[in-house]
Symmetry: D2
Subunit: 382 residues, 4 copies
């Protein structure tokens, strides 16, 4: 697909998802780590305007002088940003204005793409599209979080459950000790944090070719997994107790049966479906309970070619840190990944909400060990 | 005006104000003490449905079983309520559904009003309308708070400044010591907290027939009023320091000039206009600075007939406590006023946002001494 | 007793109480509102040094330049103060240094008292002694709070239970409506907040000549008093729920029996003893449950001559506000009482920890409606 | 040294340090992460009583039944523990009782050591002594934190500055790429987290044989290091801003000069001395500013034999995670290290407060990236 068509398609994907939203849904922020849909729509657009249009068009007239302030996320290099916790205050600008903003920027971008062939600019466009695809996933999970915390459990789209998939494999795979190369070696797009290909020595290991299911986790719950401190990391145990956690996010016990909120509404938990919405502490405790462990991100990457993966982000036992030779780009674009390298764990794979061409074996996703609003799952190793 | 027309008018007033809102405005909650417009629309409707329709119509079919849970405010007698801080999470039900709810209840109410003549029921209807008028005022002040905290300072209605009024009088009034009767003695509607007429002995006092202006308050600011602890109550001084207060709510100093946010947008502060949006601590400190004091609520009520009042709620130096012989009604309606009788100060008068027939000399408004999002002002006495 | 002997006695009373403390007890601060014993010892001494010695002795050499900073409490006029919450950080200066400080100041004070006859100075000395007597009471209640929150419930002094007293009367008293004079009219010491004698009209009322007992309160508990929101003020209900309150402070249910911590250790609750350690919200809810009410501070003062009172501070239904004609002294001494006139309720009477000559019918004690670490009780009226 | 003498010496070392404390110092807890000295004295003793004496002596009579509850730290397997934040509430038991407790346990321990030769028991004794040595270091840093936050900056011991040491080397060392073995391989004591010797491939690197000095860091401060967000990790930047950090812990700028609090009192910062009391975020930002990086813990361990190290704990760029084949012991002793493996960074080396025989090249110390009350420093690599 050429870049113009690619641009059109990615931008349209965002809009398509939103077709199921009501106007009121666009502006709500329920929790600090999730952003209102309107904000995602604008911020991804702001990226193209700020990093490309403003530099490429002489006398480019920005859509609105306020938008740089409102829709910058964490790029300190690009000016004062609105505090993340205040994103939910903004009933204005309206959703319609945001959609006009998208149209305005898209028109300019398509005009530019028609004639542009500077690879540096095209690389930035590709980065912007990947950025938008990341936000598409956040958009899905943020909307789920918002509706899943509405006491009336609204149905977003009755055909869009997203947590129904099951394992296709049930074996495990053995990998021999040896030196392996880690990091992205292709020529397509990848993030800076995947670069710096380097050798790693890994000992023998065995890794499951299937993920933990809801049924497995109900077993963990019923055998007292959430109440046995021996299974938990110290911070995990504090998290369990101070939040009174007894089950994955979105699970509710109603008259003795487990239900979970899905984007298709509140539904009975399917014991055969793959477990979702657990955090690193829960993944680690589950592994401990099974007398196994989570794979490291290197083990995962080495085994990936032989594994059936995708549809869940899989917690690894690796902290999110720089690869040797990691290099940040200068300026705002360099703020993309490196600055988050503390107190986060790496997830590998891809979720059911991840854009398809956006997943690859070297992709390093990362979240705080307490977070569970993404479609996260557990693969065990030993 | 008969009760049917009165009902239609009050209900319509709410809708009229909302005509200037955008759909996104309806669901936002910026701060715990303010509620989303949608919630006000629904809650006032819920009052009629819960306290009247459900009891008066046999087999009344409620509009939605969820709404009792969602739109109860603080009536513990009527079932579990949603926490006030979570009101802003609810993108659904949509504004359209809420408007349908209003129409549904209005139809039933008008059907009932046509034939109803039981005075107990009619009293409840009048209470419901007064309740809605109170919420109309909150709706205005909550919308102002939401838009006034949006970094782009949206214009709600350019003809609706609400803080432009000035004093018409400039004298002061002397009242002689003596025994006075306090409390509502008429036959129209009043709240339970105004009843229990009782005698009070009041010493000689003098009270201004004008309110403090923005110009007066700028003088207070410039003379160091916000930095001289001798003027402040201890809790007020903590409030000033921990919130770094230097001016009334909505005031911004831009290039050496004071501006304030109004519902007509950001405007220069008019030095001749009556001061607004200060809390009890500020009112008290200003009075201290002038070597005067705030009147008690009794002094205010005694002087009211001779005073020019209205357009600002005036802080008094009286705590909000029960009159002798105060009686709560049984059940939920009795929860209306009495339960708030701690840590609040009484305000007398009426504001520019108060429904006109809703203000009277015996009316006891009350807020926490820290709150300033109402249209509040200062009248001095000695 | 002459002023010199009075000075010696009051200062010695403080030391006598401390004879039961261990060195480690002197520096601990368990909670923001309570101060370490060492701090009370020093602060009361600092009062004499700062307001008297520094002004009366030419070239007075202060004991330590740090102490003004460390032991100022809330007198903003006397320089920067250490934050109240940091008082518990100070292992140094040692208790021995503080005792030296007391001796140093006492020597100077006795030297001054021998020759001083300026009534203004002597008034300040009397104020200082009353101030120290107030701190003696806080010292007792703060020590009780500290030891009562130590998981091993240490015995402070096994002969010093302080909550064992019972009612001597069981009747009630009727007072006729009329004009009464309120405020201190004698010639001895009183606080500024008792002055400004003024007339008040009070309607007929009846007031119990006995206080609520532990047995009465157990009845309240067992009948569901702490779980029936209809009995509680809104803020009281929040306090009950967010702190999971089910009984007065220091009460523990152990194997089906109520125990309470006393300075003589953990003991069974005596059902005949007068109730202690409840806050305004509990007092108010109890009264509501009995279909009675708390007296106002005026009613209390009017009835006092006919009442058996003392040994508990009695919550009234009056907010702590200025009397008409209330005047603050200039400077730091004027910060004594007036600045606390918000969000506090008046208590009348005296507790078992109150210095005897320090209680009188016009005395206005005041605390936040949530506080219960003082020896507080309930008298009902109607 | 035989085990009996070793036991005596380690136990005496703790007491020797405390000889400079005043009684009041023993019970104070200034901040959640630091414990009162008394608690360290008792907790280290409790370890021997709980894990050895209770199991080895038939009918062992514990010193006090309360102590298990009071002085357990985080061993969930050994019963309910007192919350860490409440440790500072405990004026009782007194320091003297704690010292009696030490004597009581020491007597029993020496009795046992005389005849014991079961290697499993002796291993536990060695673990207990290493545990006490760790607490000796915490005791020093906690006392420094307490006194360093006392506004009068007390001198603990005027000969005990602890931050005066300078670099003895100024070169850097190159290490060739290759496979290296990581982990403890000796036969003496080590912690479980050092075991699981494993091979690691490491690329070429260069590492400084000297640490960053105070002078270097003043340069960083003066060149705007604390205000340039490009140098900081995102969480580090939040930490800087929400705590308004402008310098290392204990540094104060007085009349244009930098001073730092030391255990010998407040002293001028020595520009030639090695930098201390910075956290991981500061270390990382400093490295970024120098266009270098922190070494990984593997690089550090590989280079250690050629490095001049000790006197500062050195932040590495490695998260504290399990080595391959990491195994926890069963029961309480197994809670020692593994449960802390989240959100912590590894420090290597040893500080001036570390017991001498307690440091070795494989030792893995770990703290939160925000913590800086330990004697921490910076070594750069590239």
């Amino acid at each position: 697909m050429n870049i113009t068509n690619k641009y059109k398609q990615v931008r349209q994907d965002t809009i398509n998802f939103c077709s199921h939203l009501q106007v009121e849904d666009y502006s709500i922020q329920v929790v600090q780590f999730a952003s209102p849909p309107k904000w995602h729509l604008a911020h991804t657009t702001w990226f193209f305007e700020t990093f490309i249009l403003k530099n490429q068009f002489e006398n480019y007239k920005e859509f609105s002088p306020d938008f740089n302030f409102l829709f910058n996320s964490y790029y300190n290099n690009v000016g004062t940003r609105i505090l993340q916790t205040n994103r939910g205050n903004m009933s204005r600008p309206s959703t319609d204005e945001i959609l006009e903003y998208r149209t305005y920027v898209d028109t300019k971008m398509l005009e530019l793409l028609e004639k542009e062939n500077d690879p540096k600019i095209l690389d930035l466009v590709v980065l912007g599209l990947n950025h938008e695809q990341q936000h598409q996933e956040l958009l899905i999970t943020d909307v789920k979080y918002m509706l899943g915390h509405n006491p009336i459990f609204p149905v977003f789209n009755e055909n869009y459950n997203l947590v129904a998939d099951t394992n296709s494999e049930s074996n495990s795979i053995k990998i021999e000790a040896g030196m392996y190369e880690i990091g992205y070696q292709g020529t397509d797009f990848c993030y800076d944090n995947e670069l710096g290909v380097h050798k790693v020595y890994v000992a023998d290991f065995e890794i499951n070719n299937f993920l933990v299911t809801n049924g497995d986790h109900i077993d963990f719950i019923e055998k007292g997994g959430y109440t046995d401190f021996n299974l938990w990391l110290d911070e995990g145990w504090s998290w369990v107790n101070s939040n009174q956690i007894i089950a994955p996010l979105y699970w509710h016990k109603i008259e003795g049966e487990w239900y979970n909120y899905t984007l298709a509404g509140l539904q009975k938990v399917d014991v055969n479906a793959v477990l979702s919405h657990i955090n690193y502490f829960e993944a680690n405790a589950f592994a401990e309970w099974k007398c196994m462990r989570l794979p490291t991100e290197f083990e995962w990457e080495i085994a990936a070619a032989k594994l059936d993966w995708g549809k869940r982000w899989e917690w690894t036992n690796s902290a999110y840190l720089a690869y040797p030779n990691f290099k940040k780009e200068n300026g705002a674009v360099g703020e993309y990944n490196g600055k988050f390298m503390s107190n986060k764990m790496v997830l590998r794979g891809a979720s059911v909400a991840t854009s398809k061409e956006h997943s690859r074996p070297t992709y390093r996703n990362f979240f705080n060990p307490t977070e569970r609003w993404q479609f996260t799952g557990i693969r065990l190793a030993k």
